[in-house]
């Protein structure tokens, strides 16, 4: 139980970092951390092999995005971390974690799962929705979708243990990362061409 809370706090830290930072390196580090937390929370419902598959898939997604971004021109907005709306993002991150906690209490009763697991899952889902909602930058959108799905997978793991679903979710996580990587390459191609 204590380890679940630690994993949820890890996710909380990763969510704050994802929402506040605009540097892709920090963002990907937070994403990797978030998958570690998700792995631990999924472990409560799934065997270690299946949970580890989620962790590895998540980290592969981070690697695919990181390698692509490292080899393309860096995002001009990447360095402007605190100057633009940093306080606002901090506030929304705090609000999201609070909302997730309130909803988690109901969800844990409903699904019969531990509170930290429900909180961790909902926290990632709200963070993902916030990321998608507050930006139109491709990196943030892809990170938002990956975060949202990671949160959903934590909660869904408690109610569904199908191998086909696990495989499809892994394909979708990797597919989203590769989609993002393709978008960054295409954008870099246009910049080089112009």
């Amino acid at each position: 139980m204590l380890l679940n809370w630690i994993a949820s706090l890890l996710i909380l830290a990763a969510s704050f970092s994802l929402l506040i930072n605009r540097d892709w390196r920090w963002n990907l580090a937070a994403l990797a951390l978030q998958y570690l937390g998700a792995f631990w929370l999924v472990l409560a419902s799934w065997p270690i092999a299946a949970s580890a598959a989620k962790l590895i898939t998540g980290w592969m997604a981070c690697a695919a995005l990181g390698l692509t971004l490292a080899n393309t021109k860096s995002d001009p907005a990447a360095e402007k971390t605190w100057q633009e709306g940093g306080l606002f993002r901090l506030f929304t991150a705090a609000l999201a974690s609070l909302v997730a906690f309130i909803l988690a209490a109901q969800l844990s009763t409903r699904l019969g799962i531990a509170l930290p697991i429900a909180w961790g899952g909902l926290l990632l889902m709200t963070t993902g929705l916030l990321l998608i909602g507050v930006t139109v930058r491709p990196l943030q959108v892809i990170l938002g979708l990956l975060t949202l799905l990671a949160g959903f997978e934590i909660i869904y793991a408690a109610i569904e243990t199908s191998e086909l679903v696990a495989a499809a979710q892994a394909v979708i996580t990797l597919g989203l990362a590769l989609t993002g990587a393709y978008m960054f390459l295409a954008a870099a191609g246009e910049e080089q061409a112009s």
């Binding site: 569904e160 495989a167 979710q169």
Partner: protein, 465 residues
């Protein structure tokens, strides 16, 4: 031999191999022939029957086990497979005439295979996962390698991805409802989640914004394929829900909800199309109108409603294909598809301009064209249920008609001294002329679709029976 291998894995494998074939014509020939062959086999050879070719005897079995779950394609799905692969053959063969075969076909085949798998997978809710994988695969199809991703593409991926968790979670609630059919709170929650999921999946207003944006920023032909394939499968998936779950099918609110959403999409799509100044965006809004008509047909629920739901598929395919082909051809000579950029292009590109106009008018429901008989039947049936909904759908169709006429006005606005010529290639002229013939043919003789139509509703166990 297994039906899933034939109609799911074979096209996906062929698509993967075709990724490495560079010749446009060969790619189109192989994919077009394969799709046509798969359509023919689906029409002629019933699943679960035994066949012999010389000394080789085999049975076309329906069930395929994969990772503890099953893909099931029965004889009931075969008319739908005929339609899907026949349509794919149409899109693939015509793509070679405009040089889009290599961009469209390999991924198009894989996406088609995945979406067919979404019809076959058991439990059927897992279709949401397969649709999501198909959505992700369309990114390279819609985004060329040297272009920044536009807002339309990002929203397309976002909205379709948001639908998946909602639908999967509904599945869990549905199991609870099956165990306790009287659990009203559970039913309400499942209905809300399912409704929101399908609002995203079907691009219902106000979550439709990716459609016109994508129509504006991507290749019209490739977008046209995406606009045809995803709403079609999403509608089948949605109708599948209504068919499988008695609590949805028998809900007294269902017809009015479907009718209201359908009327909103037809009226909203049509009126918004009428005020656009970009042909790609008009294509997008026409898709909304089409989805709206399908929802209206579903709202009728009785046997006739399901017939109309399926009847819409073929004219939509022809009209959207022709519209996309015309737009792609015009785009060769224009920097974009704004009215200002295509002004006067009807003179050098008369086949493309005529195709565009005829297709848009067919989608608007102009008499004598393929879209008209089905719209007339929907209006007639709908008028007996809800006059306001009928009036709004008429307004929407009128809006789409106005959009078509405004587009035509821009296309013919050439200087008086500009000469008429036909810059389209012979294959383009051939495909467009065939499209016109089919549009007029189906408009005059809608009964031509009856052999297919009679068998299509078999895909549903309860709807239309």
């Amino acid at each position: 031999m297994n039906a899933s291998i034939l109609w799911i894995f074979l096209p996906m494998g062929a698509g993967t191999i075709l990724l490495f074939l560079r010749n446009e014509r060969w790619v189109a020939f192989v994919a077009g022939s394969l799709s046509a062959l798969l359509a023919l086999i689906a029409w002629l050879l019933p699943i679960e029957n035994a066949y012999a070719i010389g000394n080789y005897a085999f049975k076309l079995s329906s069930t395929f086990e994969i990772l503890g779950r099953r893909l099931i394609l029965t004889a009931n799905e075969q008319p739908m497979l005929t339609l899907i692969y026949g349509a794919a053959a149409f899109w693939f063969i015509a793509s070679s005439s405009i040089g889009k075969a290599h961009r469209l076909i390999p991924l198009g085949l894989i996406v088609t295979g995945l979406l067919v798998a979404s019809l076959a997978v058991e439990p059927f809710l897992y279709a949401a996962l397969l649709i999501e994988v198909a959505v992700l695969l369309t990114t390279p199809l819609l985004l060329p390698p040297h272009q920044k991703p536009g807002r339309g593409l990002l929203r397309f991926i976002t909205f379709q991805t948001l639908a998946m968790p909602l639908i999967l979670f509904t599945g869990w609630l549905l199991r609870g409802i099956e165990a306790d059919p009287g659990a009203n709170a559970l039913i309400r929650q499942a209905a809300i989640l399912l409704g929101i999921g399908f609002v995203f999946l079907l691009a219902v207003i106000p979550f439709h914004t990716w459609i016109p944006l994508l129509g504006e920023e991507s290749s019209p032909y490739l977008t046209g394929f995406v606009f045809w394939v995803f709403p079609t499968f999403a509608l089948l998936f949605g109708a599948g829900f209504i068919d499988r779950y008695a609590w949805i099918r028998t809900a007294p609110q269902l017809p009015s909800i479907l009718s209201a959403v359908g009327a909103l999409m037809v009226a909203g799509g049509g009126l918004l199309a009428a005020i656009q100044n970009n042909l790609g965006r008009i294509l997008g809004y026409a898709v909304l109108v089409e989805t709206g008509f399908s929802l209206l047909a579903l709202s009728l629920l009785e046997a006739q409603g399901i017939e109309l739901f399926f009847l819409l598929f073929v004219p939509r395919l022809i009209a959207m294909g022709l519209l996309a082909l015309g737009l792609e051809t015009l785009k060769k000579d224009a920097a974009g598809l704004d009215f200002a950029q295509v002004r006067g292009l009807a003179r050098p590109w008369p086949f493309a301009a005529a195709s565009l106009l005829l297709a848009a008018l067919s989608l608007a429901g102009l008499p004598a064209l393929a879209g008209f008989p089905i719209r007339l039947a929907i209006w007639e049936s709908l008028a007996t249920v809800s006059l306001p909904a009928t009036a709004w759908t008429l307004v929407g169709s009128l809006g789409l008609g106005i959009a078509a006429l405004r587009a035509a006005a821009a296309l013919v606005a050439a200087p008086a001294q500009a000469a008429w010529e036909a810059r389209e290639s012979w294959p383009e002229r051939l495909f467009m002329s065939l499209g016109w013939l089919v549009l007029f043919g189906l408009g005059a003789f809608p009964q031509w679709m009856i052999p297919l139509l009679n068998r299509l509703p078999a895909i549903f166990e309860h709807l239309g029976h």
